[in-house]
Each structure stands twice: as C-alpha cells, then as structure tokens.
Amino acid sequence: MGRSATTKDAHALFHSLRSAYAATPNNLKIIDLYILFAVATAVIQVAYMAIVGSFPFNSFLSGVLSCVGTAVLAVSLRIQVNKDNKEFKDLPPERAFADFVLCNLVLHLVIINFLG
C-alpha cells in the first residue's frame, strides 16, 4: 500500500515538475541547457582523470573549474534575468549579460594562465 502510494506520488511529482518547467520562458531554457552542457563537460573531465590519472594537476584543476565556473556564472545570469525574481526587476537584462561577459572574461583569463 505504502509502496504504491509513494510511486503514485513520485509520478505525480514528476508530472507537476515537468509541467511547471515547461512554463518557463525560452531564454531561461537556453541558459539551463548551457548549464547542463557545462556540468556534463566537467563530469566527462573527472571521469577522464579517474581513468588516466591526475598529472598535470593544474590542467585538470583549471579544466574542471572552468566548467564549474561557467555553470555558476550562467546560474547567476539566470537568476538576474528571471522575471519572477522581484529583487532584480530594476536590473536591465543587458546589464546582467554585460556583467556575465565580464566575469567570464576574468575567469577564462585565469584559466588560460593556469592551464600550463
């Protein structure tokens, strides 16, 4: 009894999540796709490191942290651009994107320097 209730709940939850997510605007969905891509790249790099070994460590670190960094920055951009967020309603999305680009520039400058 409990088992079927939980599975029913799980199904219901899954459906409501899906329907709620389908309602998000397209620009946010694009950003979400980008985040997914970055995280997937990071996972691939970690798997590669597990197979091959971690030398040179600085390259591994800069590769993984660049993926994680772009994911984090993309999440920040999504937060700022999301129209449901009342705290950021005064922030024009162009300014948010400009900040995103600047932060990415700094991040990738550091990455290239550290890549060795």
Partner: protein, 775 residues
C-alpha cells in the same frame, strides 16, 4: 511649492553632506599617514625589526632584475647549504606593490629610492585601509557610522603597531586588502551585482598574494553564508555573492606559487567547498519550491529527504575517512595551533617560541584597542536593531576575530578593523539618538518626515507644529556642527520606522554628547601616545635617556657594516635565526638559518652547536663551512633580548632533534642561571663562552646587567674560536673559527716510539694521544 523647496533643500543637504564627507575622509587619510611617522621623526627613515629587512632585500632584487627573475629567484645566500626558493615561498603582494609604486614614481621622474618607498608603503596603505573601512561600514549601517569607523581605524594602536613608517611587512598591505575584500563582498550581497562579485574575487586574489591570513577570509565568508542559510536569510543575492567567489577565488589562489595546490588540498579551504555544495542544494530547493505547488512540494520533500539522507551520509563518510587519514587532519601546523592553542607547545617548539605567537594578556587588549573595548558590545547590540545580512556579517567577524586574538597576540591586528566598525556603529547610533533629542527639544517638533527619507519617525505626543519647512532650513544652518555626526541619511537598508519617539531629556542629551566627545578625546590621546612611545621603536637602533643626555645604541648596524667591510663575500656567518634576515640584507653575507624558520632540523643543528662545548660546536660549524659566528649580548648595557635570554629555546629546539641535548642539564634545580651556581654544561656551552669572553675586563667583577648577577666563569680562554669584533656597547660579538693547526707537535716522535714498542695498529695510537691538538 513647499514640496519643491524641500526637495531643493534636500539636494542641497545631500550635496553639502557629500562634500563634507569627502573632506573628512581626506583629513582621516592624512591623519592615518601622519600618526605613523613618529619613528621617522624620532630616529630616521630606516627599516625596522627583522622581517621587513627580508622584504626590503626582495624588493631591491625585484627593482634591479625585473619580474621574471624575481619569480624564478633561487636564493643561495641563506639557509646554507640548502638555499631557498624565493619565488615559491614568499607572498609576493607586498614586494610587487612597493615595486610597482617605485616604478611608477620613477617613470614620472620622482626619483625616490627603493628604501624610501618601502619605508612609507605602510602609512600610505593605512590611509587606504581607513577609506576601505568607511566604505565597508557605510554598507553595513550608513555614512555616519562609516566616517566614525574610518576615524577610529586610522588611529587604533593595534594597527599602528604593525604599520608604522618603516615596518615594511605583509600586514601593511594585507589589512587594506582584507577590509576591501570584505567591503566588496558586502556590496555584492547588498546589490546582487555580478560586477561587484568579479571585483570581490580580484580583491581576494590581492589578499592571497599579500598574507597567509587569507585563510581567515575563505573561512569567514562560508561561515557567514551558512549562518544566513540557517537563519532563513537565503536569497539569490547570497548565491551571486558566494558561488562565483569560490570558483574564481580558488583558481586565483592556486595561481600564487606559495599557495599552489594547497588551495584545493588543505583543510583550510574545505569549508568553502562544503558550503559551496550546501548553497547549491539550498538554491535548488528554493527553485523547486518556487515552481511547484505546496502539496507537491511536500511530496517532493519526503521523497528526496529519504533518498538524499542516505547519499549525504555516504559522501560524508568518505570525506571523513579521507581527512582523518592524514595525521594532522589536513591542517597545517600554524592553523592547527590556532584551533588548539596547546598544539604548538607540544609538537612544534619553533612556533611556540616566537613571541608574537603567545596569547595576549588582558592589559594588552586595553593597550591595543583602548576605548573600543567598551564600545564593541554596544555596537553588537546596534547591529541587531535591525538585523540585516551585512550586520550579521559584522557580528560574526567580531566574534571570530575576538576568539583568534585570544589565541595569538599577532592576531590582535585582525581584531582591530572589526572593533573599529562595531565602535563606529555604536558611536554613530548614540550620537543619532542624542542629537535627535536635542533637536526635538530645541525645535519643539521632530523633523519633517519629507526631509528625512531615512527614518520615518512619527510624532505621537507633540501637538505643537510650527512651519516645518522654514524651521528645518533654519535649524540646518544653525546645527551645522552636529551634522558631521548625524550625516546624510541616505535611504540605506536601515529603515527605522519608530512608532514611539526615542527622545531623552535635553540636559541628559547635552551631557551625553559632551561625555562621548570626551571619550573620543581620551582615545585620541592614548593612540597618539602609543604611536609615539610604544610602537615607534625601530629595534635596530636603541636609545636610552640618562642624566647625561640621550644615548644611541647603533651596535647592530655597526656589526653588520664591519662584516660587510672586513670579510670575504663568500664567507658564511652563523647566528641564531632571529638575525638572519638582517645579516643577509645589511651585511650581505651568507647565513645558515634565518627568520623564515622553514627547516627545523637546520635550526636545531645551529641550536645544538650553540649549546655544545667548544670542540663539538667547532665540528658542527666546520661541517657547515661557517667562518664567523655572531652572538648578541646585552649584559653590559642591560639589553634584555639577547642570546643568553633566548638560550633555553636553542636548547629546546636543538634537543627536539638531537636527543643528547637535554634541557635539565642546563638548569640548576629547575632554574636557569649563569652565575656561580650554574651547571657545568651551561658554563661550558659555546653560547656562554662567546657571550662572556673577556667580560670580566669591563668592570672587574663581570656583573651582568640583564640577569643581575655576577657571571659564574670569569677567566677563561677560547680554544677553537677567536674574537674578531665586539661593538661599542658589547651588544654584538663576532668570532672567527680557528683553522686547525697544520702540524701537530710531537706526533711523529710518539708514533715512532710506540711502533718500536709494540707495533700496534693506528687506532690505539689515536686513543693514547691525549694532548689537545688545537693548543
């Protein structure tokens, strides 16, 4: 009409307030710079103490050879024969800053020498630090508190002690970097702008370059984020303030060679990664909560909690196993001694022996932060009314810094900005209440709510309402003097909506304002006294006043100058590690150990040599290619920080590595003595002999003015060392190792006779020879 007038007067007031704050800030900067110049006026423009000499030498190298050679520099003039990789073991922030300043000044044709730039770097950066404090406190409470905090920081003795003109050490720029990084963090938290997050990461990078104390930042900020999450103050701004900082900050920290991979591998950084994971989990939860209906969310929670718990426990178990497998749980020795104050004294005597690493005494709190010690609790309470993200950060900062300052005297320096911020807030709030009471009583009504956008005070008791606009304009012009304390109330986050008027009687308020100003006056007097008398001694030049005027003891520089003029360039000088930096910088000779103390065994070797009898010490020093030995002796003039007073530490450190040196051998009944009751081991040790050689010739009895006794062994000769130089006041004594004799008298006769007698092997010949070959 009235609205236009009030808006015009509001802009006029704002403009006037801005100009006034700018002028006040400029004066605060000038004061911060000038109060640190006492040592330059009383002595001369010289670099102080020990560590600054190393930084000065590194800066000289940087300005002479350029950045690339500096980055790859391997120093062979110290830690002979090991050398030291300067590029990988020094925090480059300070030297790069001073080098850049020198280069900029020289390129615009202001030819200041490197020494001048180094001496004055600290006062310049303390002016910057007080401006950074203004910015930080403005974000927390408002401009009035900011100005007060900046004024307090410019003068606080604890900060002055490490940033006088001449104290060219890491803290000179690191405290500015610390406050500036905190300011940018709070600014990002308040505005949620990614631009400030980027600036925050860059400021954190500057802090990592400058000082090992950056671990305080990378642990305090995660603690604050965790506090905000736990108290229900999570917001998207918190995510933007924290997550980019962790990623960018870790990368930037790994760029600095000193930190390198420690940025991801040592326990000091694990807190930031843990909170990074936690904040992502929390952000996800809030996101899902936002897009689901409440019932569905409850379902999701029950499902996820059961699954997630299992996962969490598993991950945690792996982490704990990893961390527990290393003996120090992944922490470095210095950080561990902060968490467990008794750790260093049990396991690492070198860390325990540094005087700056001892816990402070209670009076030192009053000496170092003076009046602020009373104002800090009031500031903590003011931060709770109302509590915002920024003010919770300030409370966390003061609490942690008070704990750490209680562990190590050196960390009183980190307490100083926190104490100034809290006191600035307290003083500003107090002045607010009192001046508002005075205005209320003198004007007969409260301020026009339109004029003061910041606080909306409602009148509940007062019926008398005069013409508001004219009165407010009149009282503005007549209350200008009070305005610098009750400044522009910008629509800060602190919106005080008080339903009941907080007003005190007129006489109380006037008395209270007067008393607060008096308190400030006491603080200023104490700070100036502390700066002039207590913290301005360069410790390389000593002075004393007696009935026949001022005596100047310049023995250290005399000794180093003698060394640099009278010895070969490649000669090695052995001394206790305190004097290593000064010897390489001023005498330009290779030393065996210096203040970096990175190799405990090497220091223990020198310590053992100083504690051994002459022959054993000669052997040890000869194996290290040492030519000269330098000891500091204060017995003639009463200088208490000499090598005889430090001798027990040499014994302890040496005994930690070489077990034949036992501390009880040097103590008589547990007491350390050098008089006739001293133990024979003590009287035969090299340190005793080198300090007191020919000392009896000074006054006939050999009375040691520091230990206040006559010395034990008065007339003795040195067999393996010869004295080459003693400075004017006998404070520095330099000895040369005697080279072994070319020919040993009587050896050939003895060997022939013993051969004829028994034809024994050479080993027995050596055992029969009892004559000292060095005499």
């Amino acid at each position: 009409m009235a609205a236009q007038e009030t808006s015009q007067s509001a802009t006029f007031r704002h403009a006037f307030g801005n100009v006034l704050s700018f002028a006040v800030l400029l004066l605060i900067g000038v004061m911060a710079f000038s109060i640190r110049l006492f040592s330059v006026i009383k002595y001369e423009s010289v670099i102080h103490e020990f560590d600054p000499y190393f930084n000065y030498r590194v800066t000289q190298f940087l300005t002479k050879s350029g950045v690339y050679d500096f980055w790859n520099w391997f120093d062979d003039r110290t830690w002979y024969p090991l050398g030291r990789v300067i590029g990988g073991t020094v925090y480059p922030g300070l030297t790069l800053t001073a080098g850049t300043l020198w280069w900029i000044l020289n390129s615009i044709n202001i030819p200041l020498s490197v020494e001048t730039v180094c001496v004055f770097t600290a006062p310049v950066f303390s002016a910057f630090a007080s401006w950074a404090t203004y910015l930080l406190t403005k974000e927390i409470k408002g401009a009035g508190a900011g100005l007060t905090a900046a004024a307090l920081l410019a003068m606080v003795p604890s900060y002055i002690s490490r940033s006088v003109a001449g104290s060219y050490d890491n803290e000179a720029v690191a405290i500015f970097a610390l406050i500036f990084t905190f300011y940018l963090y709070i600014k990002t938290l308040n505005t949620g702008s990614l631009f400030y997050a980027t600036l925050n990461a860059i400021a954190y990078f500057y802090m990592v370059c400058s000082w090992g104390g950056y671990t305080f930042i990378i642990n305090l900020i995660p603690m604050h984020v965790l506090l905000c999450i736990v108290t229900g103050r999570y917001s998207p701004r918190l995510y933007i303030a924290y997550a980019p900082l962790v990623v960018l900050g870790t990368l930037l920290a790994a760029l600095v060679p000193v930190v390198g991979f420690n940025a991801v591998m040592t326990s000091e950084h694990f807190a930031s990664f843990l909170v990074f994971i936690i904040i992502h989990v929390v952000a996800l939860v809030y996101y899902i909560k936002g897009i689901l209906t409440p019932q569905m969310f409850k379902v999701a929670v029950t499902l996820v909690v059961s699954v997630g718990m299992v996962l969490c426990v598993a991950v945690l178990a792996v982490l704990i196993a990893l961390v527990a497998s290393s003996p120090t749980k992944g922490w470095s020795g210095r950080s561990l001694s902060l968490l467990d104050p008794t750790y260093a004294s049990k396991y690492i005597p070198i860390i325990a022996s540094v005087s700056e690493h001892q816990p402070p005494t209670w009076p030192s709190y009053f000496m170092d932060i003076n009046v602020l010690a009373f104002l800090v609790p009031a500031g903590i309470i003011a931060c709770f009314l109302p509590l915002s993200d920024a003010s919770s950060f300030a409370v966390l900062y003061i609490v942690t810094s008070v704990y750490f300052s209680g562990v190590m005297v050196r960390l009183m320096l980190v307490l100083a900005p926190a104490a100034c911020i809290m006191s600035g807030i307290a003083l500003s709030e107090a002045f607010d209440v009192f001046t508002r009471s005075i205005k209320f009583h003198l004007v007969g009504t409260t301020q026009n709510p339109q004029d003061n956008a910041g606080d909306a005070t409602k009148v509940t008791q007062n019926d008398v309402k005069s013409e508001k606009s004219e009165d407010t304009v009149k009282e503005r012009s007549s209350r200008k003097s009070k305005k610098d304390k009750e400044n522009i109330e910008k629509p800060s986050l602190v919106s005080r909506v008080e339903k009941r008027l907080l007003v005190l009687p007129l006489e109380t308020s006037v008395m209270a304002v007067f008393l607060l100003v008096l308190l400030g006056a006491f603080y200023v007097v104490h700070c100036v006294w502390a700066a002039a008398e207590a913290y301005s001694a360069p410790s390389i030049v000593l002075t004393s006043r007696s009935h026949d005027g001022l005596h100047v003891f310049d023995d250290f520089r005399e000794a180093y100058a003698w060394l640099s003029h009278n010895t070969e360039v490649d000669d090695k000088v052995a001394s206790w590690w305190d004097y290593g930096y000064q010897t390489t910088a001023m005498a330009n000779r290779t030393v065996i150990v210096d203040n970096n103390t990175w190799n405990n065994t090497h220091i223990a070797t020198v310590g053992t040599a100083m504690s051994s009898p002459e022959k054993a010490a000669w052997d040890i020093f000869n194996s290290l290619d040492v030519k000269y030995v330098l000891v500091v002796f204060g017995g003639l003039v009463g200088y208490p920080s000499d090598d005889i007073n430090k001798f027990l530490w040499m014994v302890r450190i040496g005994g930690g590595v070489f077990p034949h040196i036992k501390e009880p051998d040097y103590l008589r009944d547990g007491q350390y003595r050098i008089d006739s009751q001293a133990t024979p081991t003590m009287l035969n040790s090299l340190m005793y002999k080198l300090s007191y050689f020919r000392f009896v010739e000074t006054d006939g009895r050999g009375y040691d003015r520091v230990r206040n006794t006559e010395i034990g062994k008065k007339h003795f000769k040195l067999t393996h060392f010869e004295e080459v130089f003693t400075t004017h006041h006998w404070m520095v004594r330099i000895y040369k190792l005697k080279s072994p004799r070319n020919r040993i008298r009587g050896k050939t006769k003895r060997s022939k006779s013993s051969l004829q007698k028994s034809g024994t092997s050479p080993s027995s010949k050596r055992s029969t020879r009892k004559r000292n070959p060095w005499q």
